[in-house]
């Protein structure tokens, strides 16, 4: 759905991605193939574009936002990149600029602007992480006081869930159509 107001913002949906119509996607967002976006998920690219990789799972009421900081919109450094096989559970909020692969942001968690998630990180339910750092691989943040530990292996990918959703969601929701990637001028 190309935005007729403004110049460039558009939503590019890769092949095989399941994006429900009720999901709110604003701004310049690229969604990779085989990603599932539940209804009522919100992806807001205010301060810059968002690029989402493949096989991600973004659940209801999750908010992935590239917020506007000040008045300038800097396109180059303000791109939010999200890798593949990530899971954003219900009600979470992610503002991190760089999210790697195989991460899990659990329900109602908050990932601040300055944090970067590498691979295999798990942010536990209701945990907030806003410190300016890159989380080392396979870090688990859990508990009321946001304890940390490192696990031995990354969390298993949710392929079973993704397959199930890709079959069931089209039965009950209208989907946004996949778009061909725009050719660069």
């Amino acid at each position: 759905m190309a935005n007729t107001h403004g110049h460039k913002p558009s939503v590019k949906i890769g092949a095989g991605a399941v994006v429900c119509v009720e999901a709110e996607i604003r701004g310049d967002v690229t969604i990779g193939p085989r990603t599932v976006i539940h209804p009522k998920a919100r992806i807001v690219a205010e301060g810059g574009p968002i690029v989402i990789g493949e096989c991600n799972l973004i659940e209801e009421q999750a908010l992935i936002i590239n917020p506007k900081v000040g008045e300038k919109i800097d396109k180059n450094s303000g791109t939010m990149t999200i890798g593949s096989h990530n899971v954003f559970e219900v009600g979470c909020r992610c503002e991190a600029l760089k999210v790697g692969n195989n991460n899990v942001v659990e329900a109602k968690a908050l990932v601040g602007r300055n944090t970067e998630l590498s691979n295999g990180c798990i942010i536990g339910a209701d945990c907030e992480i806003t410190s300016k750092e890159t989380l080392p691989e396979n870090t688990v943040i859990f508990g009321q006081s946001c304890n940390r530990r490192v696990q031995a292996e990354r969390p298993p990918p949710q392929t079973l869930q993704l397959d199930f959703l890709m079959k069931i969601l089209p039965n009950y929701h209208h989907l946004k159509k996949a778009t061909k990637p725009k050719a660069d001028k």
Partner: protein, 479 residues
């Protein structure tokens, strides 16, 4: 009616222990006709059960298993319950090497901190439960030394049997002390002298005394035998202690691989340094307890045997036997100004109850900070009727002639009435104290009747009981 949430507002004095508790924390002994608090009862263990699998365990089995469940495990990292997860792995089929068959492999995982049994290197098991081995206590079993020598925890060469030695020694010591205590109780002072006087003549006593005494002291020969065996090697202090590894001074601590103190102390047998050595433990059992009145030895609270049932077989709580005072409404309270407070009485038993409120005599340790004018006459409470909520409410009760200046309203077994309160202290909470006297139909009296009385009395006798109650009305309002 915030009284249901703020239970400490109305406290009742327990006569035996002297502590003030809300009515929900008190028991009522039907046989002594007294209120009891948690300190006036003896607590006993009723049954053991696992909080995860809700499996009941007889006490003897619980003692052998050291009060741990056989099937359930606790995460060593965050001490929540571990759950068993399954993955399917493809292994080559032994019959047909070309086709791989899928088999299920099970591992333990924590849902909270995401610890898995693979973190410490425990291989996946092929059966769902019962295969997980927890390492033994190194101080008890010598065979497990090899496991720990690999973990660089120092040498346990002499410690292998230490725990067993100590336990045996103390067990024998305890047995000997018990025997001594019993012997002292049975025979105060067995003086052989009076026996000699009775059975032997004076002349031969001196000659025979030795023989008789030795015969009578044969009983204590066993003691001396035990005396010989009962000794244990004391702990020896060692001068040279194992030195710290030099890495401690050079390298920074890797916080991700070192255990926290809580994790380390939760496994006191091994006290591992590194998280790779943290093994899961079996889950601790919980108990159901029963409570017994110390005076009359009757049970006051006895839970059901089934661990998943929260009901009670015997539940003699004050809430079901004693009329309860609740705060209904409080106006603004001003210092030294009389205000009208509405209190509510709730009848707990299924017969009509007469309640008299009396002022507390002032004493040295007075908790009341306000004076109160109580209704002079008896208040009559209707019986508690469990079916009343299903009937249409007719709010006038003609059988009770209620004085409207005294009674606010009446509904089923509840009665709201007015009292006049004058705060006497300028700071702090306004607390009033009063004595509640009520008549109680003693159903348990028939067990105390003697045979002669049995013919006379058919009705359970009515006795007047009382309790002291303090009510906290909250803070004063500035004028």
């Amino acid at each position: 009616m915030a009284g249901l949430l703020e239970v400490d507002r109305v406290n009742i004095l327990c006569p035996d222990s002297g502590i003030r508790l809300p009515i929900s924390r008190l028991y009522f002994c039907r046989h002594c006709l007294k209120l009891k608090s948690g300190q006036c009862v003896s607590h006993e263990v009723d049954s053991h059960y696992c909080p995860n699998c809700l499996e009941n365990m007889p006490s003897a089995e619980a003692k052998i298993k050291k009060n741990r469940c056989g099937n359930c495990f606790d995460c060593p990292s965050c001490r929540h319950t571990l759950s068993t997860r399954a993955t399917s792995i493809a292994i080559p089929n032994p019959n047909d090497p070309a086709k791989p068959t899928t088999k299920k492999a099970y591992y333990l995982a924590c849902g909270f901190c995401r610890w898995t049994s693979r973190d410490i290197g425990m291989p996946d098991k092929h059966i769902a439960s019962g295969a997980w081995q927890v390492p033994d206590n190194p101080y008890v079993d010598r065979e497990s030394l090899t496991v720990f020598s690999n973990m660089k925890m120092g040498s346990f060469v002499d410690q292998g049997r230490r725990m067993n030695e100590l336990l045996d020694y103390y067990r024998q010591l305890a047995q000997r002390e018990k025997q001594e205590r019993e012997r002292k109780r049975i025979s105060r002072r067995r003086s052989y002298f009076h026996l000699q006087e009775k059975y032997l003549s004076q002349v031969s006593t001196r000659r025979r005394s030795g023989a008789l005494l030795s015969a009578l002291t044969n009983l204590s020969v066993k003691e001396s035998e035990q005396n010989q065996n009962l000794s244990v090697k004391g702990s020896e202090s060692v001068d040279d202690v194992e030195k710290l590894p030099p890495e401690i001074y050079n390298e920074p601590v890797n916080l991700a691989s070192v255990c926290t103190i809580t994790q380390r102390l939760s496994q006191p047998e091994y006290q591992p340094h590194y998280i790779k050595q943290l093994y899961p433990k079996h889950k601790h059992l919980l108990i159901k307890r029963s409570q017994r009145c110390r005076e009359c030895e009757h049970n006051l609270s006895k839970p059901e045997f089934n661990p998943s049932s929260i009901r009670f077989k015997i539940q003699l709580v004050a809430l079901h036997h004693v009329p309860e005072v609740r705060i209904f409404s409080i106006p603004n309270l001003y210092f030294q100004q009389e205000s009208q407070v509405t209190l509510m009485l709730i009848n707990a038993v299924e017969n009509q109850t007469k309640v008299t409120l009396q002022p507390m005599p002032s004493s040295d340790h007075d908790v009341a900070t306000a004076s109160v004018t109580l209704p002079g006459s008896d208040l009559v409470l209707a019986a508690k009727d469990d079916t009343a909520e299903y009937d249409d409410m007719n709010s006038d009760y003609p059988e009770f002639k209620d004085d409207p200046s005294l009674v606010h309203f009446r509904k089923a077994n509840k009665l709201a009435f007015f009292v006049k309160v004058t705060p006497e202290k300028a700071v702090g909470d306004v607390i009033i104290a009063l004595k509640v006297k009520y008549n109680y139909r003693d159903m348990a009296a028939q067990f105390r009747r003697t045979d002669e009385d049995k013919d006379q009395e058919k009705e359970p006798p009515i006795v007047w009981l009382e309790y002291e109650c303090t009510i906290n009305l909250g803070k004063l309002v500035d004028k």
